[in-house]
């Protein structure tokens, strides 16, 4: 077991070293799947580090989860050659969800950030075109369907 | 080596051949063995356990009152909503539900698209 997870642990250790206090938690879920939880203002640093040190250039997607009190953002990165999946997890406030865009590091984030904005209402500072992606243009302002307190009946 | 008209030989072969089209509504086509089509329900075997209704992904099964089964309930199938996934067939403990090979189910009236044995 220890041999199998040694590579994953090495990844977690390296993040711990670089981020220091901003590193919150690191855990392994399945083979070559590393989750790194960081504080709100260090996520960009972590992403950059994942790109530079572990060359995880492929941003698969950004998942937003409404946990009730906070909104959790998961940046799923992939490094295909060593099949390493790094997920950078960060939590932001639910009442005023604002975070900087990462589209300057990962251009493909442009679409995924719009999706998260559309469905969860997270505002990405510096995004050039933060408009509806999947919801219709006449969708009411401030209604975000993927939040837990939104029920489909509200649409009637 | 490339040139326009690489398909010519193949095309001329088709002229005397019979077309591949199946003249479906005029000539009936049989669905293969194991096809998931219209639901056939056997009330004799049913015990009214509601497992099918609980597992149905599209809510096409509703449990209604019926005295013939053990638990005084029987499923009513609205196949206008059915996905034909066969989950009800799979979970049924008494094999009372079976998906048949019948597939011509379209109707103008939604009310008629119900199996209520």
């Amino acid at each position: 077991m220890s041999e199998e997870t040694s590579f994953e642990n090495e990844v977690i250790e390296s993040f711990k070293k670089v981020l220091g206090e901003k590193f919150v938690d690191g855990y392994v879920k399945g083979k070559r799947q590393v989750f790194i939880k960081v504080v709100e203002d260090a996520y960009k640093e972590a992403l950059k580090y994942a790109l530079e040190k572990w060359s995880a250039y492929h941003l698969t997607t950004i998942t937003g989860i409404d946990t009730g009190e906070k909104i959790e953002l998961l940046y799923h990165l992939l490094e295909p050659k060593s099949s390493l999946t790094i997920t950078i997890v960060t939590e932001i406030s639910r009442s005023d969800p604002k975070i900087d865009t990462v589209s300057d590091i990962f251009p493909s984030a442009l679409v995924y950030e719009r999706e998260v904005f559309d469905l969860l209402g997270v505002i990405f500072n510096g995004h050039p075109n933060l408009t509806h992606l999947v919801l219709p243009d006449d969708w009411p302002e401030g209604v975000y369907p993927l939040r837990k307190d939104w029920k489909p009946e509200q649409m009637k | 080596m490339h040139y326009p008209g690489a398909l010519e030989k193949e095309l001329l072969k088709h002229i005397p051949k019979k077309p591949a089209t199946e003249m479906y509504p005029f000539v009936k086509v049989e669905a293969p063995e194991g096809y998931r089509g219209k639901i056939a329900f056997d009330i004799q075997k049913c015990i009214g356990c509601s497992l099918c209704a609980l597992n149905c992904p599209s809510g096409a099964i509703e449990m209604v009152k019926d005295d013939r089964t053990k638990l005084k309930k029987k499923p009513k199938f609205f196949y206008s909503r059915c996905l034909f996934c066969g989950q009800c067939e799979e979970v049924c403990p008494r094999k009372a539900i079976k998906l048949t090979r019948e597939f011509e189910l379209a109707d103008y009236d939604k009310e008629k698209m119900v199996i209520d044995v």
């Binding site: 919801l135 489909p152 | 096809y35």
Partner: protein
Amino acid sequence: MNVIVEVKLLTEEKRMFKIPVGPQHPALKEFENFTFTVDGELIIDVNFRIGYTHRGIEKLAESKTYIQNLYLCERVCGICSAAHQGCYAQTAEALAGVTAPPRGVYIRTLIWELERIHSHLLWLGVAAHEIGFDTFFMLVWRDREVVMDILEMISGNRVNYAMNTVGGVRRDISDELKYKILKGLDILEERTKYYKEVCMKEQTILARAANVGILTREQALKLNAVGPTARASGVNVDIRKDVPYGAYDEVPFNVIVYDTCDVLARILVRVDETLESIRMSRWILEHLPQGEIRTNFPRRVAENEVLSRVEAPRGELFYYIKSNGTDKPERLKIRTPTLANLLPVCEMLKGCYIADIPIVLAGIDPCFACMDRALFIDENSGKRWVWDTKQLRKYSIKWYKEHGEEVVRERWKQ
């Protein structure tokens, strides 16, 4: 100096001509909108607006059990239904710590490969149709029926196979069926080889596909292109090899990479992958292990989170599930390959001609319904927004009386 700049801007502005492609357009088989700014026949800029088929699947999944979600995920996409369902099943298995038996995994992999054959042949036909080659389209689709029939024989349906379940697969493959499949695969291999030959010989196809819709290797890497689109740009990325899942660490196969970066490369990548898939299907059938095809799956799943990837016919498909101890998932996230290829396709289209729009758009094998995932059926309250034709007609007439004129006017102002 200023004046000159201004004059130049004005004339440029005047020369801009916007053509809307979609929401309904013959080049798009589904509803999306791309607005092209053109100068004569040359495309200068592309804007997209997606979401016309948003069905709210991710939200709906939170109110359904793990078993019900199987069939929901299957309906994210029609063409790659097995990829979605299989990916969901495999993620859910990892979530609950269940391992599917080897025979189940092999059959699942077989369905994935057969689906790839069917999807790529479908795409080849559509691509031929987009460049006006209807004969090729008809012939390819005629021969695609062989693999459709195989899939129907195995699973009981042509499109939504419903083969996978959490913990394995639902149907076994008998020896008699195996023989039939092998026979069908022989026909498919012969025909696919012939079509590849035609693609390389036919001058009109080459004239439309070669050097069209260029996406360089650097752009593909930077914009995170996935699947055959990336492989046609010389990026050696294939989830089946990179992050092996299912039985792919045992099945021998080659990753097809072309480096001409154009539509022709995308055609050849897909045709070659079809041939590779036929070979793989044969190998899987011959090496099918004995034993069970499924195991039990718990009704409730303890708190956990897991992500997994599948190489769908269109590229990397991504599922993320978070559970909360009940029988329903807390969050289900789907990232479909078309969404990832959206920015690359916009990049490809710049500098193309209007005539290239259909084939370049089709070049990524777009599946917009996949990408959008949406519809407001409320399961809990039982309220349904399903209308019959009469109501729908009434509503549409009413809507157009109210809005029609102004909408048309507004369109014209643009």
